[in-house]
């Protein structure tokens, strides 16, 4: 810069705002959402990638979507048909289980994929930067088409088996959103913990297996004794699964239970976010 010229402007670079400022600190709530929004093209590609890879080199392709809850439905019906079939119910037991399994299959797949998303992609994380939250986010979102197809199947079966269309079906998207949110929170929590604690990857299958039995997926909530009912109530999935079935029967969701689920989901999301942002800094160092 020409310092002899009295009219010269102050050096431009000193007033310019940097594009990035890299510091050791990061705000506890900073999931880099603005950056994710700016790079939504990448998010979209990550979603497409995960959907495509799921069906690449498979013979049955998209039929897996239908088969996945169908196979356990047959097994559970085989075992529990006699116990849980109530003649006065509107649903037969297989249908009852299938409705629960559609929600459950999405949740457990999304949590597993998102939970492994960071630890399984180390080859990427050490080589290129992008907002890390994109990985669990994209995997949770990538399950949605399957989820929607599963619900669609359910509705088709209902219409064809002569059950009429209920206006309460309109609540289904809301319930789906709630499961997606919950899966995102839980999956992200697992993902961030698994960066440092590889134990998490082993724990996850057990956790999900136990959660399946602590959620009224294969049994009605009434099958649990009063004494232990509080466990079901603490489980945020309970209200979603029950309301999902209620809505299919033409009843409105149980709002008090849904309210509790939303509250618990907010709490889990908060912890999940704080831990993710804290762990995120260490990703590349713990690969």
């Amino acid at each position: 810069m020409d310092t002899t010229n009295p009219f010269s402007l102050p050096e431009k670079s000193s007033v310019r705002k940097p594009l990035y400022r890299l510091t050791p600190r990061k705000k506890w709530y900073d999931l880099e959402l603005p950056e994710i929004w700016k790079r939504k093209g990448l998010l979209w590609l990550l979603i497409l990638k995960s959907i495509r890879l799921k069906y690449r080199q498979t013979v049955l392709g998209v039929f897996w979507t239908i088969l996945q809850p169908l196979a356990p439905m047959l097994v559970f019906s085989f075992v529990f048909y006699k116990y849980f079939s109530q003649p006065n119910e509107k649903f037969s037991y297989p249908f009852f289980v299938y409705a629960g399994l559609v929600v459950w299959t999405y949740f457990s797949n999304a949590v597993t994929l998102a939970g492994n998303s960071l630890a399984s992609q180390t080859y990427l994380l050490g080589k290129v930067y992008f907002p890390r939250f994109m990985l669990p986010l994209s995997l949770v979102l990538a399950g949605i088409p399957d989820f929607v197809i599963g619900c669609g199947m359910l509705l088709l079966v209902m219409v064809f088996s002569g059950k009429c269309f209920h206006l309460t079906f309109l609540w289904i998207p809301f319930l789906l959103l709630l499961v997606i949110w919950l899966a995102l929170a839980v999956g992200t929590l697992f993902a961030s913990l698994s960066i440092i604690y590889r134990d998490i990857r082993n724990i996850m299958p057990y956790f999900l297996q136990m959660l399946l039995f602590l959620t009224p997926v294969i049994y009605p909530p009434e099958a649990i004794s009063e004494k232990w009912l509080w466990i079901l109530k603490l489980n945020p999935l309970t209200a979603i699964v029950s309301s999902f079935r209620a809505v299919l029967q033409g009843e409105s969701p149980a709002w008090d239970e849904i309210g509790r689920t939303v509250l618990i989901t907010i709490i889990i999301s908060f912890f999940s976010m704080v831990i993710f942002v804290k762990m995120e800094k260490h990703i590349a160092d713990y690969l």
Partner: protein, 251 residues
């Protein structure tokens, strides 16, 4: 015009290499209890400075080489600049679009096709879909993989992967390009083409940060060189001067 500023930058790793062994739950708990009881923090003593108090600034259009023995912190520096890892102390200010080619072949998903990977890796680097579509043919022809666009990358030869990943990064045309040893791979013909491409980017005003052990290439590309030794900035100056001092320590 200033484009990159590194201020008092340090990166601290825990000591137990390799892989910086994870803190187990037990370790974390005993450490916490020890702290409460007033014992000295055992983990704290095992710190290792990969970088210590690094300061330098780069102007737009400059080409800066980075040399140093293995373990001197060159790659750590590039990883911090490319936002892969966080600094432990200090601050980095970046005034332009930054693109990094840290490791060739890095970022490819082996199950996706060449075409899909160009989009995926391109957008990870920071290109928009539109930019990729614009540059697509150029990327493909520079890498010379026209016939294999719809083949899964796992069937590519390693040379093809190298060419493709360089081609994507070079066509990203960032304002600051970070290159880590990339030119050490690929055959002689491709290396020459890479050098040409880099020189072309230089003429367009791209700022270049180039890590290499090959002093000859450094001399060719960079007027200025930074010498790191054990995480400390040992020297920063004209390439031929730094090189002279550097060679003295080797011999």
């Amino acid at each position: 015009m200033l484009i990159l500023k590194v201020e008092n930058l340090s990166k601290i790793y825990r000591y137990e290499t390799p892989g910086f062994v994870t803190v187990t739950v037990r370790e974390a708990i005993t450490n916490k209890i020890g702290k409460i009881l007033g014992h000295k923090n055992k983990l704290g003593n095992q710190q290792f400075y990969a970088l210590r108090d690094i300061n330098f600034a780069v102007d737009q259009g400059e080409s800066v080489g980075i040399i140093g023995a293995n373990g001197s912190g060159k790659s750590t520096l590039l990883k911090i600049l490319s936002r892969i890892t966080f600094p432990s102390k200090g601050e980095v200010l970046i005034f332009g679009k930054i693109g990094a080619l840290i490791e060739v072949g890095g970022g490819f998903n082996q199950d996706l096709t060449g075409r899909e990977n160009i989009y995926l890796v391109g957008s990870m680097l920071g290109m928009s879909m539109k930019e990729i579509r614009c540059k697509f043919d150029e990327i493909v022809s520079f890498a010379g993989i026209e016939q294999f666009l719809d083949t899964q990358v796992k069937h590519f030869s390693s040379g093809m992967q190298v060419r493709l990943s360089f081609s994507i990064a070079a066509n990203y045309e960032p304002e600051i390009l970070l290159l880590d040893e990339v030119l050490a791979v690929g055959d002689a013909e491709f290396q020459t083409r890479c050098l040409e491409k880099i020189t072309e980017l230089k003429h367009k005003g791209t700022t270049l940060l180039f890590v290499s052990h090959e002093l000859e290439k450094l001399r060719q590309l960079c007027e200025r060189t930074i010498w790191l030794e054990k995480g400390i900035l040992k020297m920063d100056g004209k390439t031929h001067q730094v090189e002279k001092e550097y060679l003295k320590t080797i011999v």
